[in-house]
C-alpha cells in the first residue's frame, strides 16, 4: 500500500538524519508563502521575526542542514497560524473553534472544519480579553527580540537568534507552545500547511468519518525498532519526571 510505504520511508528518514530528501516544491512554497497572502495582525516585519524565531524552535531544512527532508515551522507556515489566532476576531464567526463533524481528509465529502463555530456572548467576552492580552505580548515580544538582536532579529545570525530567543523569558515559552500548535493542529487554523507537521510524526490526524478498522486497532503494525541514541536514552532516563508532567496534564482532563 502506498500509504504504508510512505510511512515506512518517513520512519526510515527519521532514523537516518543524513538521508537528504526534500519534498518537491517545499522550499519554493516556503519562500513564496509570505507574499501570497497578506497577514491580518502582523506587519511584514513582525511576521518575519515570528517566522524566523519559530523556525529556530522547530527547524526545517533551511534552518538546520541535518533536518534535510524534514519540514519545520517555516514549511508548516506556523506564522500564519499565529496570525490567524491573533486576528481571530477579524472574522465572523471568530476563528477560535473549527467546526465539525469532519474534514474531507479521511473520507468526508466536505470539509466542515473550514467553517468556525460562533461563540456565545459569554465565550466571546473571555476570548476577546485573552486575545487582546496575546496581541500585547506579541507586539512587545517582537520588539524585545529585535532590540536584543541589535535591531533586526530576522537578520541576525543563527547563533544570535538562538541566544536571543533563549533569553526571551515567558515570550519564548508562549511562542514555542504556539509553534507546536501551529505545527500539529488541523490545517484549518492556518498552520500545518500541506500536513507537513503530521507527516513528520507519521500521524494521520483527524480520522473521521473513516475511522480505523479492527485490524488497524488491534494488530501490531510490525516491528519498528527505534535506534537507542542519546535522545532516546535521555527520555527513558527522565521518564519519571515526564510521567509526572503527563499525569499533571491529564488531571485537568489532558
Amino acid at each position: 500500500m502506498p500509504e504504508l510505504s510512505r510511512r515506512r520511508f518517513i520512519q526510515a528518514a527519521a532514523l537516518s538524519p543524513l538521508v537528504a530528501f526534500l519534498p518537491r516544491g517545499t522550499i519554493a512554497q516556503a519562500l513564496a508563502a509570505p507574499a501570497a497572502q497578506p497577514f491580518e495582525f502582523f506587519n511584514a516585519h513582525q511576521a518575519g521575526v515570528i517566522r524566523e524565531a519559530t523556525a529556530r524552535m522547530i527547524p526545517g531544512p533551511l534552518d538546520d542542514p541535518l533536518e534535510a527532508g524534514h519540514p519545520g515551522a517555516r514549511e508548516a507556515n506556523v506564522v500564519r497560524y499565529i496570525d490567524v489566532l491573533l486576528a481571530a476576531f477579524s472574522h465572523d464567526p471568530p476563528r477560535i473553534h473549527a467546526s465539525g463533524p469532519w474534514s474531507d481528509r479521511s473520507g468526508g465529502d466536505e470539509d466542515y472544519m473550514e467553517n468556525f463555530v460562533p461563540l456565545t456572548p459569554f465565550q466571546e467576552a473571555t476570548w476577546r480579553k485573552r486575545i487582546a492580552g496575546l496581541q500585547v505580548m506579541y507586539r512587545n515580544g517582537i520588539a524585545a527580540l529585535d532590540a536584543a538582536a541589535g535591531g533586526d532579529y530576522a537578520g541576525a545570525s543563527a547563533g544570535k537568534k538562538d541566544s536571543t530567543l533563549n533569553d526571551a523569558g515567558d515570550f519564548r515559552d508562549v511562542l514555542f507552545v504556539h509553534a507546536i500548535e501551529g505545527f500539529l493542529s488541523v490545517p484549518e487554523y492556518g498552520g500545518n500547511q500541506d500536513l507537513v507537521g503530521w507527516k513528520e510524526i507519521s500521524w494521520k490526524g483527524d480520522s473521521q468519518p473513516r475511522g480505523y478498522t479492527a485490524a488497524e486497532i488491534g494488530e501490531s503494525d510490525g516491528l519498528d525498532p527505534v535506534v537507542p541514541d542519546v535522545l532516546v536514552a535521555s527520555v527513558m532516563a527522565n521518564l519519571d519526571i515526564a510521567a509526572l508532567a503527563i499525569a499533571a496534564r491529564r488531571r485537568g482532563g489532558r
Binding site: A125, T126, V232
Partner: protein, 617 residues
Amino acid sequence: MAAKAIVIGSGPGGSTSAMVLAEAGFDVVILEKGRNYFRDLTSPTPKTVFSNDELKSNVRAFEDPDTDAEPRTYRADASETNPFVGNVNHIPATVGGGAVHWDAKTPRLWDIDFKKLSMLGPVDGADVRDWPFSYADIAPYYDEIERLIGVQGDIHQLPDVTLQHAPRTHQLPMPPGPPQYSSLIAAQGARLLGLQPAPTPMAINSERYDGRPACNNCGFCSHYGCPTHARIGALAPLRRALLAGATLKPNTFVYKIEHNGSRATGVSYVDSTGKRHTESADVVVLAANAIESIRLALMSGVPDPNHQIGRYLFFHWFTAGFAVFLRERMHAYRGRSTTHHVDDFANPDFPGAKEFAAANGLPYIRGGVLELGGTQDPIAEALIYQGTIMPVISSNRPFGRPFKQLMRASLLRDRFFGLEMIGEDLAQATNMVDLDTSVKDARGFPVARITYSPHKHEITAQTFYIPLITALLKAAGADASAAVPEMSSDRFPIAAGNVPGGAHIMGGMRMGADPKTSVTDAHGRLHALSNVMVSDASVFVTSGAHNPTLTLMATALRNARALAGSTSRPRVLGRKVTQDEELPATGVSASTRAGAGLVATAAGLAATLKRKARTSD
C-alpha cells in the same frame, strides 16, 4: 394542569430525571448553563460540530467551561490562605454535560460500596456510611440504564471477583468492540502477574443500536465530543425527555433556588442575553454536577442547620503508569481510549492488601479499577518535550532539532501507553465545597472553593499498588516504565500537581436518613426542601472504586421514579414514549435492536454515517 418540574443541568443526571418526569406527565423545563452544540435533539443522531481536533478540544476548551470565565479555587486545607485559582476538576458544561466528552467506561459499583460500613466497618478519621439502598436494590436500574445508553461488553468475560461483588442477571446489550493493541499488550502483562484482565463495559456502540451507528474507533474519544453518536451518553434520556414534551433552554445560568419554608417555589436565572428571570415550579431537580449543585445550594441559602451541605466531597484518587516500547509502535491513538481493564486492585481482599493495611494502621485498603492502554495526542506529547524534557537535556537551547527528533521517535505517544487506576476516596468532613469569599465568575457570582486532602487510606493504597502497576508494565515488555500519583496534596508531596483532578466529582450532598449526617434523604431529596431532588453524583455516600457515571444515572433513575410515583396526578401526553416501546429487552438479537418507530427522522443521516464508515474501511 400538570405539575411543573424545573431541571437544572442537562447532563446524565438531569437528563435521566427529565426523562422520567416528562414521561410521567410532568411539565418539564431543563435549564442548561452551557451552550447547545447539537441540532435536532429528538433525532437519535443529532447534527454536531464535534470533531477530531486536538487544538479545539484540549487546548481551547470547546467542551469544557472556560476556566478564565468560570474558575474555581482550591486549597489543601482550611489553613491555606492563598488558594489556587483556575481549573479544579471542571467537567463539560454544555447540553449533555459531562457525558459529552466522557470516556464512557461503565463498570458498576460493588455490593461493598453500597453497604460499606456494614460490610467493611469504620475507618478512623473517615466517615464511612452505608447508602440508603443495596446493590440488589439498584441492580435493575443499572440494567435499564445499560440498555438506554447502549453498553457493549460481555458478562461472561468479567472476572469472578467482579461478578461476585456486582452480580449480573442479564447479558449486556452489545458484544465488545474490537480490542485495542495497547490494551492487549497490557492485558498480557496483567495475566503474567496472575491478574484477570477483561474487556471493559462501555457505553459505546459496537454495532448499530437504537438508531445510532457502530463506533468506527476514530481514536478521539476521551475528552472529545463524539462526531457520530456511537457514544450517546446523556443525549439518550434527553431525547426521550424532549419527545415526551420537555423544553430545553441552553445558555441559562440558574443562580438561585427560590424557597419558602420547607418547599422550593422556583428558580431564578440569567438568560443568554444577561437578563434575569424567576420561574416558579412544583419540583426542582438539581443536577448541575457535584461541585456546581453545591455552589447553587449555597448561593440559594438552602437551610443547613447541621452544616452538612458541601461536606464529604470525593475525588477518585488516580494513579497512572506509563510505559515506553522501543521495538514497535503501540498506536494507542486508534480506538476507544482503552478497551480492557483489571478489577483485582478494587478488591480489599487482594493478596497482601489486608496485611499492608494492618501494617499501616488501617482495617483495609482498596485501590480501584485499572484501565489498560491509551496514550496522549501529538500536541500534548510535544508540550511534554517542550516543557519538561528539553529543559533537562538542553538547558541553554531547549528547542531546535532535538525537539523534532523526539517527536519523530515518539517515545511518549506512539511507542507508549498508559494505565490508570481509579482509586477509592474515603469520606472526610473536611473535604468540601463552599463559596469562595473573594473570587467571582464572569457573571459576578461567587465561585466554588474546594478544600481537599486525601485520607491516609488513599495514600496507603496508592503506595501498595504503585509497584504492582510498574510490575505489570514490565511484564508487558516495557523498555521503560514509571508509575506516579496523578493526584496530589501537601500530604503527598511527590505527586504530579498541586490540584486534584480526574473529573470524577462526587459527594457533598450525600443521601441518608439522618439530617445530622446527610443532606438528602433516601431518595435524593433535600432534607431542608422536600420538593428539591438532587440528581447528580453529589448524593453519593461512598466514592466506589469505579467510574461513577453509570451509578449516577441508575441512582437518578431510581430516585426520579420514586418522585414521579409519589407526586400527584401526572398528565400523560400523547407523545409519551415508554421504555418498552423504545428499547429492546436485554439480550435480544441485533435485528430488533434498531429501535424502531422513533428513529425515522434521523434515519437518513444515520444511514449516511454508517455507509461512509463501511465503504471507506
